[in-house]
């Protein structure tokens, strides 16, 4: 319990630093941040362009870090999942890897094309969090697999929960 309160505070601090990072361009209302009480959607920083992946690896080691799991139809990085991102951020900031491909996935419900976009948003949400933790944006690529690569082939909530994820592929 105490731990989760600590995490919540840390999370808000991260969100705050994110506002400062993002604030270089222009001031943004707080509703655009993680942890805000925004009713719909999960706002992303949304203005740090992705680099062109040409010449960069398309595969990485997926075994080093645990995936980040998401709620149904959500791309919000939950507090309980945030420390997974923090471990990856520390790893990359220590120069242990050249970069990471964040692979976003959705469960099988919903249209395939919508799930491609949803998976991408899950990958981007993790990317944004890594950036807020000080990881160089140029070392993070995103790749959405939508519902095309389930971790669990089952068709129930237990399987779907494992499939709504962002996987870290380190290269």
């Amino acid at each position: 319990m105490k731990n989760s309160v600590f995490k919540a505070i840390m999370f808000l601090l991260m969100a705050g630093s994110l506002a400062i990072v993002g604030g270089c361009k222009k001031a943004r209302p707080s509703a655009d941040l993680y942890g805000s009480d925004n009713l719909y959607g999960d706002p992303l920083m949304g203005d740090i362009p992705l680099i062109d992946p040409v010449g960069l690896p398309a595969e990485g080691n997926r075994e080093l870090f645990s995936p980040v799991y998401f709620a149904y139809d959500s791309s919000q990085v939950n507090l309980e999942e945030a420390d997974k991102c923090e471990k990856v951020a520390q790893y990359l900031k220590r120069g242990k890897g050249n970069g990471v491909i964040v692979e976003g996935h959705a469960d099988e419900r919903g249209s395939r094309e919508y799930n491609l976009a949803l998976g991408e948003r899950r990958a981007l949400a993790v990317r944004d969090y890594l950036i807020s933790l000080g990881v160089d944006p140029a070392t993070i690529q995103t790749k959405s697999y939508g519902e095309e690569m389930p971790a669990d082939m089952g068709h129930d909530e237990a399987a779907w929960r494992k499939n709504r994820r962002s996987v870290f592929a380190i290269y």
Binding site: D32, N38, L39, Y40, G41, D42, P43, L44, M45, G46, D47, I48, P49, L50, I51, D52, P53, V54, P57, A58, E59, D73, G110, S111, R112, E113, Y114, L116, A117, L118, E120, R121, L124, D128, Q141, T142, K143, S144, Y145, G146, E148, M149, H155
Partner: protein, 395 residues
């Protein structure tokens, strides 16, 4: 807003007035099928001739307008089918009551394409009798996983003549025909990341950082609607295919965009956005401006396909299952097709503007079905041998 509605109304009026009145009126509800008799048509008994006759009969029955009969009938088809050097079908179509000749033509085809020729003849007979465009000569692009990877396939509208198009051992998502019906755009991971490709071209149509998906060529062939996340969030863009210039259409930091499709005149795009909290269908003018929300009922509405008939077919989640619905963007009306307990998804208008091809999933197996928006029961086109999904009909 008013202006937009008037524009949409314009589309529908043009489409409906383009149908000339023919000899026999077809009831709007699809009732009272026209009895058509092929008894006077002469064909030999070799395999090619038998294929021609059986495909022709099946096409006429599947069209929804005809019922092939062995005796009597309102329409009589006479003529001969010959297979000496190449195939040749002489076809005369008569209105039995008035003795008026509605069609008298000779069709020729290469040696091995009896079914292709039969599809052509079926569409010509339908047009001669009803003045309506048929679907028999159309093609379906679809995705299948029977090889263990998701590859692109193409088949005829009756589900036969299935051919594997890609062999990339990767993942193909969301095929869509170019407006000339000669190429298919699709998303593939064959280069590692999701990029938009077109059949017949090795270079991707879009390979920017992040997501490149749902590439859909405009009716004039000059632009492509596409979902890109290069600026940090999945958004709808239009790419000028000649200059490569990108126009960003949406700015929804709180949401995803997906599944764009063009209106028949190319002036509007219908697409999916979840900025309201759940995926719903919106329409935006090609020149930008404020999107108008089309759907409100159902917990989610996805996969729009804007037919040449002016109607938008889409997939609606109602009572826990996916069903096919049709919206009239002018009248702002919507109706849901009657289907039995299964999930029907990914609708695509057939070239006749009457039928819809879609995927049907039951017990976690997916196959391709043909739905009649007027009356007939659903028909399985492709099932078994793996899963089949994301069908797209040629124009």
């Amino acid at each position: 807003m008013m202006k937009k509605l008037t524009l949409l109304l314009g589309i529908c009026l043009v489409v409906s007035s383009a149908q000339p009145q023919r000899v026999i009126d077809v009831a709007k509800k699809g009732e009272g099928k026209i009895a058509i008799n092929l008894g006077s048509y002469r064909a030999w008994n070799d395999a090619t001739s038998r294929t021609f006759m059986s495909v022709l009969k099946a096409d006429l029955n599947r069209s929804g307008y005809f019922k092939v009969t062995a005796s009597g009938g309102q329409i009589s088809v006479a003529g001969t089918f010959k297979t000496e050097n190449s195939m040749q079908a002489d076809v005369q179509v008569y209105n039995v009551a008035t003795r008026a000749r509605l069609l008298g033509k000779t069709y020729k085809g290469a040696g091995n394409s009896a079914s292709t020729l039969a599809h052509k003849v079926a569409d010509e007979i339908l047009y001669a009798v009803t003045g309506k465009k048929g679907m028999a000569s159309g093609k379906i692009a679809l995705v299948g996983n029977r090889t263990g990877s998701k590859e692109l396939y193409v088949c005829d509208m009756d589900g036969n003549n299935l051919k594997q198009v890609t062999s990339d051992r990767s993942i193909v998502v969301g095929p869509c025909w170019a407006p000339d019906g000669k190429a298919v755009t699709y998303t593939s991971y064959k280069r590692g990341y999701p990029n938009v490709f077109m059949t017949g071209r090795s270079k991707p149509l879009s390979d920017l950082g992040g997501l490149n998906a749902s590439g859909t060529i405009s009716p004039d062939g000059r632009s492509m609607a596409v979902i890109l996340s290069k600026n940090g969030n999945p958004e709808l863009y239009i790419k000028n295919l000649r200059t490569g210039l990108l126009t960003r259409m949406t700015r929804t930091r709180n949401g995803n965009e997906a599944s764009p499709c063009w209106s028949p005149d190319g002036n509007h795009i219908a697409y999916v956005s979840d900025t309201s909290g759940r995926p719903q269908i919106y329409i935006i003018a090609r020149n930008g401006g404020r999107p108008v929300r089309l759907t409100s009922s159902g917990t989610e509405n996805v996969s729009p396909d804007w037919g040449k008939n002016g109607l938008i077919a889409f997939c609606s989640r109602i009572g826990g299952r996916y069903r096919i619905a049709i919206a009239n963007p002018t009248a702002k009306s919507m109706r849901v097709l009657e289907t039995e307990w299964a999930d029907y998804e990914d609708p695509s208008w057939a070239p006749d503007g009457r039928h819809i091809v879609c995927s049907r999933t039951t017990k976690h197996r997916s196959s391709i079905y043909l739905l009649d928006t007027l009356k007939d029961s659903p028909v399985a086109l492709i099932s078994g041998s793996g899963d089949w999904f994301s069908p797209a009909c040629s124009p």
